[in-house]
Amino acid sequence: MPDYNEDDYLLLSGIQHFNFCRRQWALIHVEQQWEENVRTLEGTYVHRIADQPHLREKRGNKLIVRALPVHSGTLGITGICDVVEFVRDPAGIPLSGEEGLYLPYPVEYKRGKPKKNDSDRSQLIAQLMCLEEMLACDLSLGYLYYNETKHRVEVPVTLSDREQVKAVLQEMHHYFAKKHTPKAKAGPHCQSCSLHNVCLPEMLKKRSVASYIESRLSE
């Protein structure tokens, strides 16, 4: 598969939007209808982190790196890993400036608690695939850390997980290339959607404007 052009990279964080609602993802990432542009937000975030001296932390056989920018040319994505733990491992890869061999494990922080569906997993898997590509290594697991339960969940990554993420990303690239915003499929999830005001899903279920005008004029 040919690599994506860097200009066409999608934001990794969009996977969770896409899983939540395709229209929401398109409104944010295709149309940039966000109160505050996501890219700007990520930009300031990285900036804030980069200004801090303790980005790297050594704990025993672990090297903990925060806010690590990652990308993948084959998947056509770019983003930031909250935390990547590099663990000393004879099967690992050499890191510049460090002695020994290491293997990376992405850790994704979530505000809430574990969800029933696996919407949080895809993003982590995509991060893992980015790390594999950038560091030329094979990985098999990452972690989800839930702030509410202060609990870390181990996420093994299988081949079929990867295929699934690839398929989702392909679909996202397809919409993105066509600049297409899917029509709303309104549901209970709309209640918690931050773009409800921009999307107005109820509106699309309304009668046609032509009949609205007709009925008003005939009054």
Partner: protein, 343 residues
């Protein structure tokens, strides 16, 4: 629906606005006249050359708080905008429609339809509310003529014809507008529209209300990602917010005219607050202008049911909801642009 935030109007001339932490501070020489948190604000509108610190401009631009400079009489001077955001795809489609006369006409006719419909119902309401005071047959005649214009507009696909119908409907409406002024008739009367400059008290009020409205409409269009300068009915002219003017057609009567009428009829405005210049131009004094702005802010808080969305919103969100609906139409989510049909 979006939350209606406040607009800060600065009407005291020779003030200086600056940023202090998360607040706007208004200063006149050494005195601090006021301090307002930025997070409550949607827009800042200054009249009379108030200076603004670069830091405050930057903060407003970053938070998409509209910052507009007007002359004391309410003529638009400049606006500070940040990096252009939003939907290129949407704007390109807007330009395509604007370049195509027939497609433009299909949108424009709904603006005009809204304008005439609202004009008709302003008159109809008045005949109901003030049956004993008004020349009912005369107004009913105009109302019937407006209905006829509406039927015409409904099938027009040509911009020039549309402008023609719109023009004659406006003449009809203006011919009875004076009837709607029920108080202080010696000082407030309407003999026709004049604007450069306004030559009587009513025209001075109308001009000022249109300025306030156009500012709201322009911000609304920009906040949904449309280009306020590229219109359908009004064609491009450098420096003219054509799309804002388009959208104002349907809102002028129902929003601004009715507002002006209520100021006069409820005697919220005093004829002593107006003065005439040597060239005949009528201007308002600072207190009167403050009074108008106060009334405008209060009007924006009043609730109505949006006729198409069927949702309770405040008057202040009407420009925003129309802008949003226009964007939805341009993107292909709606079969037509739904004008604001008030009754």
């Amino acid at each position: 629906m979006k939350k209606l935030l406040n607009t800060l109007f600065v009407t005291t001339p020779d003030t200086y606005l600056s940023l202090d932490g998360e607040n706007i501070v208004i200063r006149q020489e050494e005195n601090i006249l006021g301090r307002y948190p930025l997070h409550n604000l949607e827009a800042v509108c200054t009249f009379g050359y108030a200076g603004v610190s670069p830091a405050l401009m930057g903060s407003c631009a970053e938070r998409s708080i509209g910052l507009t400079f007007m002359t004391r009489t309410g003529r638009f001077l400049a606006r500070v905008t940040g990096e252009s955001r939003g939907n290129v795809v949407l704007r390109k489609e807007q330009y395509r429609i604007s370049d195509d006369e027939r497609r433009s006409a299909l949108v424009a006719r709904n603006f005009i339809l809204g304008k005439i419909y609202n004009a008709k119902w302003i008159l109809e309401r008045a005949t109901r509310d003030y049956a004993l005071r008004l020349d009912i047959p005369r107004i009913k005649k105009v109302s019937a003529a407006l209905s006829e214009s509406m039927n015409l507009v409904h099938s027009v696909e040509d911009l020039d014809i549309l402008r023609g119908v719109e023009g004659s409907a406006a003449v009809q409406y203006n011919s009875v507008f004076d009837e709607l002024i029920l108080q202080q008739k010696d000082d407030f009367f309407f003999r026709g529209r004049n604007k450069r400059p306004p030559l009587d008290n009513v025209n001075a009020l109308l001009s000022f209300a249109y300025t306030l409205l156009s500012n709201d409409v322009r911000s609304a269009l920009e906040s949904v990602g449309l280009d306020a300068y590229v219109g359908f009915l009004h064609r491009d002219r450098p420096g003219r917010a054509s799309l804002a003017l388009d959208m104002m057609e349907e809102l002028r009567g129902v929003y601004a005219d009715r507002f002006v009428l209520s100021l006069i009829n409820k005697k919220l405005i005093n004829p002593k607050g107006f003065y005439r210049k040597e060239n005949g131009a009528v201007l308002m004094d600072d207190d009167t202008r403050k009074q108008v702005i106060k009334g405008w802010q209060e009007r924006k808080q009043e609730k109505i049911i949006h006729p198409y969305l069927n949702e309770k919103i405040s008057w202040g969100l009407v420009p925003y909801s129309q802008a949003l609906l226009l964007a939805r139409y341009i993107r292909g989510d709606l079969d037509e642009y739904p004008p604001f049909l008030w009754k």
